[in-house]
């Protein structure tokens, strides 16, 4: 049996793979099957809308060309496009979206990540990440203004001197005060991260002041 074709095909090839898939893949699926997966429209909240309107006021001409009016529908579209670019540009290879309950991460980044935070369309596939060259971004929303993000995306070293992050001038029409549709979408997506939490925006300094663990 252990050296025969059928044994290797059915037991090792298919059998053991299925056991592992059932145990490690299907079990969590069953455990979480009653969770509602939110759509991009459903995850638009008043905080990210405030940032979206801020973009519209700060860069009126660019915003008008890119998304027209700052409606909730336009915001959902920006989130979708923003996530597509966040994945396509490989941002998630250097920035995780997952705060662990160890190594003082909750003091640096904010509340430990919970399962329900990932039950939405924009986490397909889930962006836990596997490497942090830059900081975790799952509580980044609202921490910094849109002008900071615009300059930072255009040339990170202007606002973060020693940053090894690459430049993204193609998110702009020539200068950081003219973000194009891609730039506005990515900034909206970044400002959305963590906007669903009560502790929004979460500042690192806040924990020091409040003496939180």
């Amino acid at each position: 049996m252990f050296e025969s074709k059928s044994g290797i095909f059915f037991i090792a090839g298919i059998g053991f793979f299925l056991i592992a898939f059932l145990g490690n893949g299907v079990v969590p699926m069953i455990m979480y099957k009653d969770r509602h997966e939110q759509t991009a429209e459903e995850v638009v909240n008043k905080r990210v809308m405030a940032q979206f309107r801020d973009l519209a006021q700060r860069y009126p001409e660019s915003f008008q060309n890119a998304f027209g009016e700052p409606t909730e529908e336009a915001c959902a579209e920006a989130l979708r496009l923003g996530r597509q670019l966040y994945v396509g540009e490989g941002c998630w290879h250097c920035h995780s979206q997952f705060v662990r309950p160890v190594s003082n991460e909750s003091r640096r980044f904010g509340p430990v990540s919970k399962s329900e935070e990932y039950d939405n369309e924009l986490q397909r596939p889930v962006l836990f990440g596997t490497r942090r060259v830059g900081p975790d971004l799952s509580r980044e929303g609202g921490r910094r203004g849109n002008d900071w993000h615009a300059v930072h995306f255009h040339k990170p070293q202007v606002v973060s001197t020693d940053s090894p992050m690459p430049e993204y001038p193609w998110f702009f029409d020539g200068s950081p005060d003219k973000p194009n549709r891609r730039g506005i979408a990515v900034m909206t997506y970044i400002q959305w991260l963590g906007s669903w939490l009560e502790e929004y925006p979460y500042y690192e300094e806040l924990a020091e002041v409040k003496g939180e663990p």
């Binding site: 597509q84 994945v87 160890v102 399962s115």
Partner: protein, 503 residues
């Protein structure tokens, strides 16, 4: 090739016990192997250049800053995908065209199918690369956003958000068909073979099934079927199984094939090879979640993944012991026979990788080293230090036979070995230490810049270690070029040192 040559080929093959066995020339299509190797080395060159670009970015030396199509974020994915699907897959497929027919005494199902698969696979890899590089540039199309809105799916024109599953969604079905055809093409000769199967064939057969299932699972479920935490569990399974159930069994299967041939003695213990295969088959698929410890994935599943990872380390020890048991009495070969040196160096690295795995998978280690360069060092150790070295050894052994002449330069062969193994060792140690430093910078709550600035010495060292590995590849490519064009050799690699028996 003359009849005499084909007999010569067969004389060092597996023990047949069958006087009427077909000749090498009837069994093996040598041309396709050369084509696979050329494709593999091309993608390896691209991948290493991509890795170099990202390494230069991290130390602020990137000469192409702000160039959209050379964005390090995109080329980071070219680096990993070109290694997995461009280099390893092509090199493995080429070698299987040598090993499977010679082990089974049957040709692959169809030579025309083989060539179709070869072409299709290059299209798949090149389209993946094009998708990754150009995807974000052309992502913003109204029809894509309309479909994404209608179906609530990611609809990324370029990379998808899963490591090694970045293959754009419009290539996934083609890749699956390709993998199914690969399985059929090689399973038919295995099915036709008579008598008990040799160890290598256990690994190959299981690998064909596993690779297809793994690819389907990872490229379909987290994108279309599930979201959130359960998708994370599937993603963990995928990135782990791609190494454990595609690369690892093919690699070990080839070691079980080439090592006894070159040492001219059977594998030390048949019993241990059974333990090794079935241990890997049972424990390896159970480990995926260890990539996401401390996530919201249920804790009991995380514990299970940790325990099975530690268990597989014991299995790995049996395999490594078996191979070193085989080397006993032939130790001189390690120094004189270049492919054997590649193979056993890779095995030492494999043991280190797996030993490291059993430690780093614990929750204690994870606190410190998760998300750091420690893991990057680990990945390079296994993908380059083990499997790439093994494939370099196999190529060093096979190219003189495929081209019909000895390697043009012995010293270039040696440089290839030392620059590859040496550069990799430096890179591995360097990134491992970098990871420990990064972990402490983060947990001590210093400003984020402290970790990136503190990494600079390590990252600069990594650039030069990578350059050494790349220089090794250039030696190999130049040597191959001179050998292929039949240049007059002043310092050829003797047949003995290439593992070829002196007839």
């Amino acid at each position: 090739m003359t009849h005499g040559a084909s007999v010569h080929h067969r004389s060092d093959g597996p023990v047949a016990g069958d006087a009427a066995a077909p000749s090498h020339d009837d069994l093996v299509d040598e041309k396709i192997i050369v084509c696979y190797y050329v494709a593999a080395l091309t993608f390896l060159t691209i991948s290493m250049l991509a890795g170099l670009l990202v390494a230069l970015q991290l130390v602020h030396w990137n000469p192409f800053r702000g160039t959209e199509l050379l964005s390090p974020g995109r080329w980071r994915m070219i680096h990993t995908n070109a290694i997995a699907y461009g280099f390893l897959a092509n090199a493995f497929l080429g070698t299987l065209h040598w090993a499977v027919p010679r082990l089974t005494f049957h040709k692959v199902l169809s030579t025309r199918l083989s060539w179709f698969i070869f072409g299709a696979w290059q299209v798949i890899v090149l389209s993946t690369a094009l998708g990754i590089v150009l995807g974000p540039t052309f992502q913003d199309q109204p029809w894509i956003l309309a479909l994404a809105k209608k179906w609530h799916l990611p609809m990324n024109l370029g990379a998808q958000g899963l490591e090694w599953g970045e293959t754009p969604f419009w290539i996934d079905p083609l890749a699956l068909v390709g993998l199914a055809l690969v399985a059929v093409n090689f399973m038919v000769p295995i099915g036709k073979s008579k008598g008990p199967m040799y160890v290598s064939l256990w690994y190959f057969m299981a690998a064909f099934v596993w690779t297809f299932l793994t690819y389907a699972m990872g490229n379909l479920l987290p994108e279309y079927a599930v979201a959130g935490t359960s998708a994370g569990a599937i993603g963990g399974l995928f990135i782990h199984d791609l190494v454990g159930l595609f690369v690892t069994p093919l690699g070990w299967g080839l070691m079980y094939y080439f090592v006894p041939i070159m040492l001219k003695k059977p594998i030390w213990s048949h019993g241990l090879s059974l333990v090794g295969f079935w241990g890997l088959a049972f424990f390896y698929p159970l480990q995926g979640i260890h990539h996401f410890l401390y996530t919201p994935i249920p804790m009991f599943l995380q514990y299970g993944a940790v325990i099975s990872t530690i268990a597989v380390e014991l299995v790995v020890a049996t395999v490594v012991i078996n191979f070193f048991g085989t080397l006993v009495g032939r130790g001189k070969e390690f120094f004189e026979n270049l492919p054997i040196r590649y193979f056993y160096t890779g095995m030492v690295f494999y043991f280190i990788t797996c030993f490291q795995c059993a430690l780093q998978v614990t929750l204690t280690f994870q606190k410190l080293i998760h998300f750091t360069d420690w893991v990057v060092g680990h990945a390079h150790l296994v993908m380059f230090g083990v499997f790439s070295l093994w494939l370099f050894g196999i190529m060093t052994y096979l190219f003189p036979r495929l081209l019909g002449r000895p390697w043009w330069s012995r010293s270039l062969c040696e440089y290839h070995y030392w620059l590859s193994a040496g550069g990799l060792s430096v890179m591995f140690l360097d990134l491992t230490f970098a990871g420990i430093f990064q972990g402490y910078y983060w947990s001590s709550l210093q400003p984020w810049d402290a970790s990136t600035n503190g990494s600079q010495p390590f990252w600069i060292t990594r650039v030069f270690a990578g350059l050494a590995m790349f220089a090794g590849l250039l030696c190999f490519l130049f040597n191959l070029w001179m050998t292929a064009r039949g240049a007059e050799a002043t310092d050829p690699l003797p047949a003995r040192a290439a593992g070829t028996p002196t007839a």
